[in-house]
């Protein structure tokens, strides 16, 4: 067996190369419909937006592509726009923090249930997520409205009716509700992977329950916290539907402001420039997430290197 194998080593090597090539070609074939779709409906519009952001708005509200400039980016420095960006960032931060505060204990509860209970609870978590977002936001609007059940309850308890609809509070409530699932799922994944013998070890080493949580459980689920926070922060920051329906004029956020540029003000270049800014901010957030994600596990990197080495090692062994 072995001498024969050695003799045909060169032919086998070339055969192996051809097989790898065929595999690569096959992979490309499989990926091509998705790649084509993304190219047409994602990359192309994105490129168009980028181009528009350097264009000029003519006095008649049209967009002139001749004479590129960065006027639209300069306009972002305007106090009104900066105020809108600031408010959006603040509400997104608040939404993220609230989602984390509500989502972590919930994900913890979920991840520590018996397996069959977990499956049911997870579906329950997903149901609102699968429901039309617009419908859900209108439901919140009804709930929070001055004639709605929340107000009626408060009145019957003697606190009087309340007006929270069309305030930043209503927007925050709506956004927490809309994006909570995006926080719970990565947290659930992180907590579900948690090795609970580690918290037992902490308890055994004289840590109280809460100290074991802060010293062991929380740091070890950091990746879930970071991922969930990015997943909530990014759509909250650019959110358009929720503030539009629950916020009213007083809580103009960047998402609505961009929509207004395209729809009403017919200032495509400014809208495009703000969109580009939003995308860049998002990319930065994702990049930070990636970096802290690999840093969270500490020794992750050497392990990955070792795994890479291990993967190359069995190959010669398999040959002989």
């Amino acid at each position: 067996m072995q001498p024969a194998g050695r003799a045909s080593e060169s032919t086998r090597a070339s055969g192996e190369k051809a097989a790898a090539q065929a595999q690569r070609r096959q992979g490309m074939l499989l990926a091509s419909p998705g790649a084509l779709y993304l190219l047409i409906f994602f990359v192309a519009p994105l490129a168009l937006i980028s181009v528009y952001s350097f264009a000029t708005r003519t006095s008649t509200g049209r967009t002139s592509l001749s004479g590129w400039n960065i006027e639209s980016y300069r306009a972002i420095g305007d106090d009104v726009i900066l105020g809108i960006i600031g408010r959006s960032a603040w509400l997104a931060t608040l939404t993220t923090a609230l989602c984390l505060a509500v989502g972590y204990p919930f994900a913890y509860y979920l991840a520590t249930r018996p397996r069959h209970v977990r499956a049911i609870l997870l579906v329950l978590v997903m149901i609102p997520f699968w429901t039309n977002g617009l419908v859900r936001v209108f439901a919140i609007r009804f709930l929070l409205g001055s004639n709605g059940p929340a107000s009626a309850l408060s009145e019957s308890l003697g606190f009087g009716t309340f007006r929270i609809l069309f305030t930043p509070t209503a927007v925050t409530i709506g956004m927490v509700y809309s994006f909570l699932t995006l926080m719970v799922l990565p947290l659930y994944v992180a907590l579900e992977r948690m090795d609970w013998s580690l918290t037992e070890a902490a308890r055994d080493l004289y840590a109280s329950g809460s100290r074991a949580f802060w010293k062991v459980t929380l740091p070890l689920t950091k990746s879930g916290i970071v991922a969930g926070s990015v997943l909530v922060f990014v759509p909250s920051f650019g959110s358009y539907v929720v503030p539009d329906i629950l916020g009213g004029a007083k809580t103009l956020l960047i998402g609505s402001y961009i929509a207004r540029q395209f729809r009403d003000a017919r200032n495509y270049p400014l809208g495009a420039a703000l969109s580009v800014l939003l995308i860049v901010a998002m990319l930065v957030a994702v990049a930070l997430n990636q970096r802290s994600g690999s840093g969270a596990e500490g020794g992750d990197r050497p392990r990955r290197r070792r795994r890479g080495r291990a993967r190359t090692e069995p190959e010669p062994a398999a040959v002989s």
């Binding site: 580690l198 055994d204 080493l205 004289y206």
Partner: protein, 355 residues
């Protein structure tokens, strides 16, 4: 049992998980400074017993004392014990040093005592120079040492070890057995360790408690457990043995199922159905008719031979029964399949065990 207070005293402890009885009314006293093994097959309740001593599981019934102090319901952080976990449970986000000093920090031990004790513990398990590595940069043996140091640095009154060597390969395991024994002698702390490996238990511990299906079947020195097993299960679980069906005769004799009478001591009443446990290496093999007058013997025919290098194992048919005889360092003439032989053993070499 010198009248001094026991390190661990388990008194009528039962643990139920729903319908399942994991530990069933166990009584056990472990002496101060003892190296004690809880031995049994998986699912026998040995780990649950250990976890109840640690406080990671709470007993459903019964009481549990550590050096006389009732701790049955105390949380783990308030017990003077530490555990070496099965897969070590080292904190992956901390360095070796941070792992080892965790317990001291939780008890607010400050420098210089902190760093002095950490250095001592690190040196004791020969990990000096590796303090800044993370657990996943260590070999299995090194991780094991970190787990030991992390527990011992707290100077617990009792150290609990859950299958501490289970994850190591054979050679390393044998080295660590010696090391653990030496370590226990030098620190003088009571070690309670759980294992399913009977050889490990025999080699390491001063006393062994054998468990099966939640019950503690026998407690004794390795020699007692091996040579005087209290039940068929213990005899069968510890080492290899021939279990021959037998019954007790009125004169204190024991009669095997094939009718042969053998000499054996038993306190069981006449008429009891018992088993005779004959260790393969305690039996001798001779050509038929040359057996010595002393002791007991059985006539049979060699059926199968397994050559192991340092020993030869003969499978001998004795009527319906099959008896394994292990001849170490082969002396005398070898036998071939089909040879008529006599199996003999000295008085006291076989043990009578209740079924």
């Amino acid at each position: 049992m010198t009248g001094a207070v026991a390190a661990v005293e388990i008194d009528g402890v039962t643990k139920r998980f729903g319908e399942v009885v994991a530990v069933d009314n166990v009584d056990l006293a472990i002496d101060d400074g003892e190296f004690f093994a809880l031995l049994g097959p998986s699912g026998c309740g040995k780990t649950t017993t250990l976890r109840m001593i640690a406080g990671l599981d709470l007993p459903t019934e019964g009481s549990l004392r550590i050096f006389g102090e009732e701790v049955g319901m105390a949380p783990p952080d308030l017990r003077p014990v530490n555990t070496v976990f099965q897969a070590y449970a080292l904190f992956p986000h901390m360095t070796v040093r941070q792992n080892i000093e965790f317990g001291l920090r939780m008890r607010r031990v400050k420098d210089p005592e902190l760093s002095q004790r950490v250095a001592e513990a690190t040196g004791m398990v020969r990990l000096s120079g590796m303090e800044d590595r993370r657990p996943d940069q260590l070999s299995g043996g090194q991780q094991q040492r970190v787990a030991l140091a992390r527990a011992l640095v707290n100077q617990p009154k009792v150290l609990l070890l859950d299958e501490p060597l289970g994850a190591l390969d054979l050679k390393l395991r044998q080295e660590m057995q010696q090391e653990l024994k030496a370590l226990q002698r030098s620190v003088g702390i009571t070690f309670v360790f759980v294992t399913h490996d009977q050889e490990e238990a025999l080699a390491m511990s001063e006393r062994i408690g054998v468990m099966s299906e939640g019950r503690l079947l026998q407690v004794g020195t390795p020699r007692e457990i091996y040579e005087r097993p209290a039940s068929r299960f213990v005899a069968d679980f510890i080492g290899r043995t021939n279990l021959l069906d037998a019954s007790v005769e009125p004169a204190g004799e024991v009669r095997l199922a094939n009718g042969a009478r053998i000499e054996a001591e038993t306190s069981l009443p006449a008429g009891s159905e018992v088993s005779v446990s004959l260790r393969p290496e305690r039996a001798r093999l001779q050509p038929r008719g040359t057996a010595a007058a002393e002791g007991s013997s059985l006539d049979g025919q060699v059926r199968d031979i397994t050559y192991l290098g340092h020993a030869v194992v003969y499978e001998v048919a004795v009527g319906e029964m099959s008896v394994e005889v292990r001849v170490e360092g082969e002396t005398g003439q070898p036998f071939a399949p089909g040879d008529d032989v006599t199996i003999s053993w000295d008085h006291g070499a076989a043990a009578v065990v209740a079924d």
